[in-house]
């Protein structure tokens, strides 16, 4: 897979504040890339530079083989962006909004109507076309935001916290559409999110803190590097669990043992087979990775 986004030594400051410092990473074509960090970590600055909204102080950005400095117009046609908050015109209907945004890419007339019909089917908003965007629910508005971002068939979809504040069913529906696009159109998805379970589904994760990369890798690599495994042991008594000699906590109907890795877990099972009648081994979660890497937790957009 080729690199569709290549960022090298990117830096950007606002006065004394160093928003992004010497950032370098790559995104491969077709992958789901998660870009994590607390608010103010530098995620939005990076995205704004990629979209040509902000200038950079130094470094280079290549998107689909095009240099950002010399081919911005071409790059803009390859990017679709779903902003953190909806930026559509609340007073106008869904149809009017999409018509004006499609026109920005030269999509007018029959081409507009054909694409509108495709997206309305995909995102199920045919019945919303005449309704003002301001009167839509959060989930409905998000679908229209995504339709706007997809209108010109971008190669890269940038999703800036796309599911924040949405109910689980709407989140699921949105992720189904994104998965469909990745599978059928080989679309690259560049995601920022505060939901770690979404980040866990990514092909590759970069965590930034204070404008610098703190950790990167696949979710598995990050979990293996920054967290241990958990053995949940059912039907055991506390005295037996104590004998194992590892850190544990009592949960509702079991004990959860913390071990450094899966190999250690296997060793314990072999050593105490009589205790391991009913158990499960799980890897650490992305929340644990984030906490270990940054010393902070992410919960629905708040820093703890």
């Amino acid at each position: 897979m080729k690199n569709i986004i290549q960022i090298t030594h990117l830096s950007k400051s606002f006065g004394e504040v160093k928003a992004v410092q010497d950032l370098s990473f790559c995104v491969k074509e077709g992958e789901l890339f998660a870009f994590l960090g607390i608010n103010g970590a530098g995620k939005s600055t990076t995205i704004n530079i990629m979209c040509g909204q902000l200038s950079k102080d130094s470094g280079s950005i290549q998107i689909d083989g095009q240099n950002l400095d010399s081919n911005m117009d071409l790059i803009k046609r390859k990017l679709g962006v779903v902003f953190q908050s909806s930026v559509l015109d609340s007073a106008l209907s869904v149809y009017d909004n999409l018509e004006s945004r499609a026109a920005l890419y030269g999509i007018v007339g029959t081409a507009f109507k054909d694409r509108l019909s495709e997206l309305a089917n995909l995102l199920d908003f045919e019945e919303l076309l005449k309704r003002p965007v301001g009167k839509l629910s959060g989930g409905q508005r998000r679908r229209i935001d995504i339709a706007r971002a997809l209108f010109h068939k971008p190669k890269i979809l940038i999703l800036d916290e796309p599911t924040t504040g949405l109910d689980p069913q709407t989140r699921k529906n949105i992720w189904n559409v994104i998965s469909y696009l990745r599978q059928n159109e080989n679309m690259t998805v560049f995601l920022t999110t505060h939901y770690m379970e979404e980040a866990a589904e990514a092909d590759y994760v970069v965590i930034i803190d204070n404008g610098k990369i703190s950790a990167e890798g696949t979710p598995l690599e990050l979990k293996n590097t920054y967290t241990g495994d958990y053995i949940t042991l059912y039907g055991a008594n506390e005295q037996d669990v104590k004998k194992i000699g590892v850190e544990y906590e009592r949960i509702r109907d079991a004990y959860r043992l913390s071990v450094s890795d899966t190999k250690t877990a296997t060793g314990l099972i072999i050593k105490y087979p009589q205790l391991f009648d009913d158990y499960e081994i799980t890897k650490g979660k992305m929340d644990d990775v984030f906490l270990a890497v940054t010393g902070k937790t992410l919960t629905g957009g708040t820093k703890k």
Partner: protein, 297 residues
Amino acid sequence: MSVSLILIKRNIKLFFKDKGMFFTSLITPAILLVLYATFLGNLYRDNFTSALNGTVQLSEDLIDGLVGGQLISSILAVSCITVAFCSNFLMVQDKVNGTIKDLRISPAKPATLSLSYYIATLVSTLIICFTATVICLVYVGIVGWYMSVFDVLLLFLDVLLLVLFGTALSSLINFFLSTQGQISALGAILSAGYGFICGAYMPISSFGDGLQKVVAFLPGTYGTSLVRNHSMQGVFADMENQGVPGEVIESLRDSLDCNIYFFDNQVNVPTMYVILGVVTVVLIGAYILLNAFKKKI
């Protein structure tokens, strides 16, 4: 439909759907109507009668025509500017609510976006101001009609020029605004202040000497004077026919801002057109340059 046309359509629709912006733009003309209905109309009627000093007896119709002419010229002179500013606030609101980011991530040229704001403001303002002109003419027709067809055509030309000027000025000023607070502040200053400095609430001739000299530097003053000239010309012509002495008419023209003086030199009507036209072109040029040289943060 081309990109520009669709964007212009979007901007016009947004202005007319945003009741806040639309009604804010009509505050100053509404204040004027209330002022005239409550006391300004009577005040001016008494002033005209006393200015004639009992030398000539004028018909009630003629006096009403003069007061009506002053009212409609005030309303039109103010509306062309305030409506243009309020309509152009869309440009700032797009910055406030982040919509401009959505427009700028597209490959559409910044010049196309800027031009769409300018033309949309122009069209919205023209729709409102031409409608207002027609309503004003109907009003004058009821209270006392003295205008010729040529006066009416020139009045429409004056409104067009003032709208072009107002749109250019608002584009330039709104370019620097980026918050809701700034919109509110400018809206308030404009609603309260423009009616005053353009002589809509009280004639410029009644200002102190210093203020009159300052106001003579404002291009809008000449736009107001043009509208005044063409809405009251017929009344003065009829006065002349009824034997009112020329010096009395001139003094009325002075007091009603039909004659504007730049440091004691009277500015004639063709010069007023030139001033307004040149300033409008310069403002549009400055707006284009600002957009062309705007740097990313």
